[in-house]
């Protein structure tokens, strides 16, 4: 009985061991079968890094017109948007005329009427002055005539032709006309001063009104609306900015636009990443640009670039031959291409960046080491931390971040295109 029990225990134990061995073989086979596969690469023989950075910009005119509210405006409707090209005569904004204090056209007419009234007043004053002057002239003529008659009568009296009474009568008449003339001159003098004062007042009023009228009618940087309160522009314009409020305070910018198809000085404005910006200005690389996915053959002359470092902003002045190919508001794509030599350049697909793949960041690179083990010649990964020096189109320049990090030389084999997430000391199968 004891022997039977022992045999049974032994049998169970053997079955257990057989199962363990079978599981061991199965898992060994699976582990070898599902081993992550990587392709092996080496650092590039030619350690030249071709770096291409892309960014977009917009063609903008250097000449812009800014229109500010010269009074409080009540906007009923805004008919355009920023960055929009508007055909000539299109509605820009419509003012709420029921709330608006003045219709600017009516105001102009009133101004003109006032000017006319002043002009009439001025003419009336002038007429009055002319009348006064004529009256003085007439008094002078009467006095001179009376004086001549007196002198002729005096001659006749000395010759005894007329009596003394006739002479005295003539003398009284001439004296009376002289006094009348003197009164007229005196009156004219005072009236002339008043006239001059009135004339100055009227002229100044007219000038003020003319100034107002001129401002309403001629200046394009003021809101001038028609009788329905519609503000429009007579040119085809690119709206750089349009206000988005219904009530605009005096002095606020309502609209900023530039006139399209003009001979204005065009330029391309673009905002760049800091490193691209630095590259362009420190290294002076070639810059190409596309419009509507069509690459323009000409590369931009980097010397014509103006920069605003605070905003990482570039402004490319467009040369004449390029100006024919771009228009205001065109979106263009730039490419900055550079070629630079580095000590270690590897394929981008072999780099696992920590965060974003950009220069200054760190990355992991897995070198493949071979070792003789109980499983034969095995390939395993060795993880190293490296600093990204520059990122090219398909390649990355790196350097060891720490002194104990494995240096990548021309004989190093690097894991590339991994079929799984790589880990340090992971066994891998190298595929061709």
């Amino acid at each position: 009985m004891v022997s039977g029990l022992f045999d049974r225990i032994l049998k169970i134990f053997f079955i257990f061991l057989s199962i363990v061995i079978i599981i061991g073989f199965v898992f060994l086979a699976i582990r070898n079968y599902i081993m992550p596969e990587v392709t092996a690469t080496k650092p590039l023989e030619n350690s030249t890094l071709i770096k291409k950075d892309y960014f977009t910009g917009r063609v903008i005119s250097r000449e812009t017109i800014e229109v500010k509210a010269d009074r409080k405006l009540y906007i009923e409707e805004i008919n355009v948007k920023s960055s929009q090209i508007v055909e000539p005569g299109s509605k820009i904004i419509t003012l709420d005329m029921s709330r608006q204090s003045l219709n600017t056209d009516t105001e102009a007419v009133e101004l003109q009427n006032q000017i006319k009234l002043y002009e009439i007043e001025k003419l009336n004053l002038k007429s009055q002055m002319n009348n006064r002057e004529a009256s003085v002239q007439r008094a002078l003529e009467s006095y001179n005539k009376a004086k001549e008659e007196y002198e002729s009568t005096s001659y006749l009296y000395e010759n005894g032709i007329v009596t003394k009474e006739d002479l005295d009568s003539k003398n009284d008449s001439a004296e009376e006309l002289r006094k009348s003339y003197e009164r007229e001159v005196s009156s004219l003098k005072s009236e002339t001063e008043i006239y001059a004062m009135n004339l100055n007042r009227i002229d100044s009023e007219i000038n003020i009104l003319l100034g107002k009228l001129h401002g309403k009618v001629n200046e394009e940087n003021k809101i001038t609306v028609d009788s329905e309160g519609v503000y429009f522009l007579s040119d085809m314009v690119y709206i750089d900015y349009i206000i988005d409020k219904k009530i605009v305070e005096e002095g606020e910018t309502v609209i900023r636009y530039s006139i399209c198809n003009s001979n204005s000085d065009l330029y391309i404005e673009a905002y760049l990443d800091r490193d691209v910006y630095d590259d362009i200005f420190n290294k002076r690389y070639s810059v190409y640009f596309w419009k509507n996915d069509e690459r323009k053959k000409e590369s931009l002359n980097i010397q014509s670039v103006r920069s605003f470092p605070d905003h990482n902003e570039l402004i490319f002045s467009l040369r004449d031959e390029l100006r024919e190919k771009v228009y205001i508001s065109d979106v263009v794509r730039f490419m900055v291409q550079s070629e630079e030599n580095y000590e270690c350049v590897v394929q981008k697909t072999a780099v696992v960046p920590v965060g974003e793949m950009k220069s200054g960041n760190y990355c992991y690179i897995y070198t493949i080491e071979s070792e003789e083990s109980i499983l034969g010649q095995i390939n395993y990964l060795k993880q190293g931390e490296y600093k990204i020096l520059a990122v090219g189109d398909n390649t990355v320049a790196v350097e060891a971040s720490q002194t104990n990090t494995t240096r990548i030389d021309r004989n190093s084999i690097i894991a590339n295109y991994a079929s799984a997430v790589l880990e340090n000391e992971m066994r891998v199968r190298i595929i061709k």
Partner: protein, 274 residues
């Protein structure tokens, strides 16, 4: 009193032989914590199969060497059986002056310690590689070939074949059987137990190889489990006992399977001795 002494001695011998096996099996069911803290304990505090799980699922490189052991043992076993049966038949049946001398030389080689033949074998392999371009060193053939030509099997089977009644050979010859037919249809069926016993001995000897792999193999990947156990003990103590049990398993299993045949063989040899 004498019987009691014999029984006591027998019990002592059994304990001495059985204890290491039981100790290993018992420890294979201990967890790593207990193994680390106290290896003197025999019974596991918590019976678990953690070691077996780890060795079969997580650290299953062990089984790569298990395959190596199996290949080498099977190679030697198969080769040695073919050579031994053929040679033993020749020495026992085809007796001549030369065969006696040849068998004497054969027996002499059996007496040589293994260590003496190892270095000449290395030199032989180097020569073969140099003159024939056939690389044997650091291959499993380097271990299998000397095993194939081991003299133990020849000696063992010759003695057995000679003990066969001569009438069997004579009847077969009268029936017109060739030597090969006599060997296959008369000698081998008669010698099943002897061959089984020899297989067990060859299996045990080659499953536990130590010296030959160390000398002839340089890559760890080609070594048998018997070599790896030492590494396992020093590096992966937590699975060593399970590894040892799994290593013992084929030997014990084969022994259990053919122990009856071995018993018959032993009884037969003892009968003939009387």
């Amino acid at each position: 009193m004498k019987k009691f002494t014999v029984k006591l001695l027998s019990a002592f011998i059994i304990i001495v032989f059985i204890f290491p096996i039981l100790y290993t099996i018992s420890h294979s069911f201990m967890d790593g914590y207990q193994l680390k803290n106290n290896e003197v304990e025999i019974v596991p505090e918590i019976f678990n199969i953690q070691q077996y799980y780890e060795i079969s699922v997580e650290k299953n490189e062990y089984f790569k060497l298990y395959i190596n052991s199996a290949i080498m043992t099977a190679g030697v076993l198969l080769g040695q059986m073919i050579v031994s049966i053929g040679a033993a038949y020749y020495f026992s049946v085809k007796k001549s002056r030369y065969s006696e001398v040849l068998f004497l030389i054969y027996t002499f080689f059996m007496l040589l310690p293994l260590q003496i033949t190892l270095i000449p074998n290395v030199l032989l392999y180097n020569s073969i590689e140099r003159y024939l371009g056939l690389r044997l060193f650091n291959t499993q053939f380097a271990v299998i070939l000397p095993g194939v030509f081991s003299t133990l099997g020849v000696f063992f089977l010759k003695q057995f074949f000679e003990s066969m009644p001569q009438s069997y050979y004579e009847i077969a010859k009268i029936d017109g059987a060739s030597d090969l037919e006599i060997l296959l249809h008369v000698v081998l069926p008669y010698s099943k137990n002897a061959i089984a016993a020899l297989c067990l001995l060859i299996f045990i000897e080659n499953w536990n190889l130590i010296e030959q792999p160390i000398i002839f193999l340089s890559s760890m990947s080609k070594m048998p489990v018997s070599i790896y156990l030492n590494t396992l003990y020093s590096s992966y103590r937590e699975i060593f006992y399970a590894g040892s049990v799994l290593f013992m398993f084929p030997v014990i299993y084969v022994f259990m399977k053919i122990r009856d045949k071995l018993k018959v063989m032993v009884l037969k040899i003892s009968d003939e001795g009387r």
